[in-house]
């Protein structure tokens, strides 16, 4: 009987795996097919490339956000840190060259992320409020450094390579985004850090009692989230050819939404990068699709809400059906 239960369990798990695998991609295919039917020009290579470019920053932030959320926290500051990294990076870039500028963007992200992690780990402050505070700090710094207005001056090479460059038709931004997702996915699945992230999110006390250095790993998680803000700054700044102090406003919530639509519970301990990827694609392609098929902006706002709610309900029904 025990044996039977076991193989039965495996079967159910396989089936549920397939199901779960299908809901989110199903929604993606549905959106794509309907959009393509209403507006045949949707299905052009041009539009796919556009779509990829547009969702790259979101994808990069979502990768970092997955880590913080799975570890039981969240990082509201990413978008503001992105803006700050972009501003700092471009300022440095104009004086010391492209490479120095890019390194500055990444380091600014890591530094701010480490600061977040240190506050959260050291003082046991709620990540929500800690990163909401640092969000404001990062935006304030970005506004002050930039004097409130976007900085458009930057080396042409930076825009050409990272903003307009492409390899085999894949824009550089997309390559960065996919790279980030793959790296974070590997981290989550195959490394000690990944296991600890799940463990801390699932039961911090248990992780601590098992000898996991919860504090250090928490700092590391937020540092990595900050790093994604830096990477996204490279991609977004070169894409829009401007470093804006108010860049990416609200993108942190979109990234969180994508992560949650991708089935990562905000309570932590659960989730996979593949589903987050689907979540990003769903949210990212919605706006492109609705614009392509000519839905008015107010209707778009409504439609996005309906799709989010429908997607999570469907996903949840699938889960509980298993």
């Amino acid at each position: 009987m025990f044996q039977g239960a076991k193989s039965g369990g495996t079967l159910i798990r396989l089936a549920s795996f397939d199901m779960q695998k299908l809901v989110l991609p199903g929604i993606i295919v549905l959106i794509a097919v309907v959009s393509g039917m209403i507006e045949p020009r949707y299905w052009t290579a041009q539009n796919l490339v556009n779509l990829g470019r547009q969702i790259s920053p979101l994808l990069i932030l979502a990768a970092g956000q997955s880590l913080t959320v799975i570890s039981g926290g969240l990082d509201l500051s990413v978008a503001a840190v992105l803006a700050l990294s972009g501003i700092c990076g471009v300022v440095v870039m104009n004086d010391f060259g492209m490479t120095a500028g890019i390194i500055t963007m990444l380091l600014t992200g890591i530094a701010f992320g480490t600061f977040n992690g240190a506050i959260i780990a050291r003082f046991k402050v709620s990540p929500f409020i800690a990163t909401l505070g640092t969000l404001s700090i990062a935006r304030g710094l970005a506004l002050m450094i930039a004097g409130g207005l976007p900085i458009y001056k930057m080396p042409e090479a930076f825009i050409d390579i990272f903003g307009s460059g492409a390899v085999f038709g894949l824009p550089a931004g997309v390559i960065f985004a996919l790279g980030t997702v793959i790296v974070f996915s590997v981290i989550l699945r195959y490394t000690i850090l990944g296991r600890y992230v799940y463990a801390i999110g699932s039961n911090t006390d248990a992780a601590f009692n098992s000898g996991v250095n919860v504090r250090a790993y928490t700092v590391l998680v937020y540092a990595l989230s900050g790093l994604t803000a830096g990477v996204a700054a490279v991609v977004l700044t070169s894409y829009v050819a401007a470093a804006q102090p108010l860049a990416a406003q609200g993108l942190e919530l979109q990234a969180l939404a994508a992560v949650v639509v991708g089935g990562v519970a905000l309570t932590g301990g659960q989730g996979s990068m593949l589903n987050v990827f689907y979540g990003v694609v769903i949210l990212g392609m919605l706006s492109n699709s609705l614009t392509m098929i000519g839905v008015s902006s107010f209707m778009q706002t409504l439609a996005i809400g309906v799709v989010i709610v429908a997607a999570v309900i469907l996903d949840q029904l699938r889960r509980s059906a298993n």
């Binding site: 009987m1 025990f2 239960a5 076991k6 369990g9 495996t10 981290i187 195959y190 490394t191 000690i192 850090l193 990944g194 296991r195 600890y196 799940y198 463990a199 999110g201 699932s202 039961n203 006390d205 248990a206 992780a207 601590f208 009692n209 098992s210 000898g211 996991v212 250095n213 790993y217 590391l220 301990g269 659960q270």
Partner: protein
């Protein structure tokens, strides 16, 4: 030194030496002196049993060894070296492993991930896990424990007994030289206990030192080499386990109080049926269950983990709908949609998994106790009267022998056993008709247990019915007016007015065997 332990060994065993020694360790939580200059010595190759009433300080001592708490004063030595165990990692490096009383597993993680959490071969964050090697070692450990679970199953999907075994496996996988087990058998049924005791035998062979906290006095004789008693944060007595050490002596060791042994009296009046279940089937394991519970009667259902007992409980309290069959309460069809509905129909529930399904961790003792009888305290305006609530709490906590500091403190400041008493108090509140209890006295010390049994019978005499699902057969035999044995989703036999003599028959029932009384004895 330990005459009992010599038996199974063929190979010469290393000479026992003191590997873990605590001297005058004190620990205060707020105003509570949890440990008061406690001293204990633990030797390799033996099982040191630690007894004590609820709240005596056993778990606190264990947690100090595990690096969870730091002592306020006193000294700890490992293999003769004075050490400071600042965190869990240090403890592990010293070869100390602990099985926590309140399980400390990450529910979303797989069995494998839990077992190796924090004990990976490599140390750097970005190092890759060696899952193949881990899986191999993991299978070995699970085999030792006779635990058959898929390595990739999330721990949250396991029943609590298996969680407990995973917690034990976790310590075994770390090759700890000093193992502390805090009430490891509290939720295990006989079958699993046997496996655990076998493992403990093997560990002793290997020279591992084991500190074993329990409330089951039988276990002293079964596995113990040495026994200590804790009273009010002090280790008051220590002695080797000898045949001369009777349960009575043990009891007197650990409490100044006289423990009146509990004996069941027959119900005063023959009871009329209150709850009748016929041909009940459920998705999660009842195949064909028929039983009755009388008004003012304590009925037990006993069986191994997975026999359908849990499923029956789930159906009765509204956690699951039955797929066919009939349930009647008070002559009316009974089909609760959820526990709140069941509660409204007079069915109260004390679930087994205290931490997951029982306590409200950051709420006060008072709020935990009075979760379900709040209407008793509402005043005309619909407001709750705090004073009346406090009054009832004081009375009930007293009656349940809860050892507490202030009823406004979070329930998590209570010891495990005392938390359980509070949950017991919650379940009996608010005049239910039937109380479904899973392991009602898990973690509660023997003295308090006897008092709780008496309380249950008092309630029974007032017409309240109990349906008991206990993993402890002795307890079931002791307190139930009637027992059903269960196997593979079916009721096997009914025992009216059970006695200790029915033990063998029940044990064979629940394993699906016909009775071979002689073979067992």
């Amino acid at each position: 030194m330990n005459p009992l332990a010599a038996d199974h060994s063929a190979a010469p065993r290393p000479q026992p030496e003191v590997v873990l020694c605590a001297s005058n360790v004190s620990k205060k939580f707020g105003a509570t002196q949890a440990l008061d200059e406690a001293s204990i010595q633990i030797c390799s190759g033996g099982v040191h049993i630690l007894l004590g009433e609820n709240g005596a300080g056993k778990s606190t001592l264990a947690k100090i060894f595990a690096g969870v708490h730091r002592p306020d004063a006193g000294q700890i030595e490992v293999r003769g070296q004075a050490v400071e165990i600042g965190d869990a990692r240090t403890a592990r490096e010293l070869g100390i492993g602990i099985v926590f009383q309140e399980l400390s597993l990450a529910p979303h993680l797989s069995v494998l991930d839990n077992i190796f959490l924090g004990a990976e071969a490599k140390r750097r964050p970005f190092s890759f896990l060696s899952r193949g090697e881990e899986a191999r070692r993991c299978r070995n450990v699970l085999e030792m424990l006779d635990l058959d679970v898929p390595l990739q199953a999330p721990v949250s999907s396991l029943p609590i007994a298996q969680k407990q075994l995973v917690e034990i496996a976790k310590v075994l996988a770390r090759d700890a030289k000093i193992i502390i087990m805090d009430e490891p058998t509290s939720t295990l049924t006989d079958r699993e206990k046997q496996a655990l005791f076998r493992v403990i035998g093997v560990l002793k062979q290997r020279g591992v030192a084991i500190l074993y906290v329990t409330h089951h006095l039988q276990e002293v004789e079964l596995i113990g080499d040495f026994v200590s008693a804790m009273v009010n944060g002090r280790v008051t007595q220590s002695c080797p386990v000898t045949p001369a050490l009777t349960e009575l002596k043990l009891v007197s060791m650990l409490t100044g109080r006289e423990v009146r042994e509990f004996t069941r009296a027959k119900p005063r009046t023959p009871s009329s049926p209150l709850l009748t279940i016929a041909a009940l089937k459920s998705k999660s394991g009842c195949k064909d269950v028929a039983l009755t519970v009388g008004r003012g009667e304590i009925v037990g259902v006993y069986g191994v983990v997975g026999c359908g007992r849990e499923s029956l409980g789930r159906v009765l309290v509204g956690l699951e709908a039955h797929s066919s069959g009939e349930i009647h309460m008070d002559g009316r069809p009974y089909r609760p949609r959820h526990p709140a509905h069941a509660r409204g129909l007079g069915m109260s529930y004390l679930p087994m998994d205290r931490k997951q399904k029982g306590i409200l961790p950051n709420r006060s003792i008072r709020e935990n106790l009075n979760l379900m009888n709040l209407r008793d305290f509402s005043t005309i305006g619909g407001m709750l009267s705090r004073s009346r609530e406090r009054e009832r709490s004081t009375r009930v906590l007293d009656e349940l022998l809860v050892r507490f500091d202030s009823q406004e403190k979070p329930i998590t400041t209570l010891s495990g056993g005392n938390q359980q008493k509070v949950l017991f108090g919650r379940a009996i509140a608010g005049a239910p008709k039937v109380i479904v209890m899973e392991d009602p006295t898990v973690g509660i010390d023997i003295g308090a247990k006897a008092d709780l049994y008496r309380l249950m019978h008092e309630l029974r005499n007032r017409g309240i019915s109990f349906l008991i699902f206990s993993s402890d057969l002795l307890e079931t035999l002791k307190i139930c007016d009637r027992i059903y044995s269960m196997y593979a989703g079916r009721i096997v036999r009914e025992y009216a007015d059970p006695t200790m003599n029915d033990e063998a028959q029940i044990l064979s029932d629940i394993l699906g065997q016909e009775l071979h009384r002689a073979a067992i004895h």
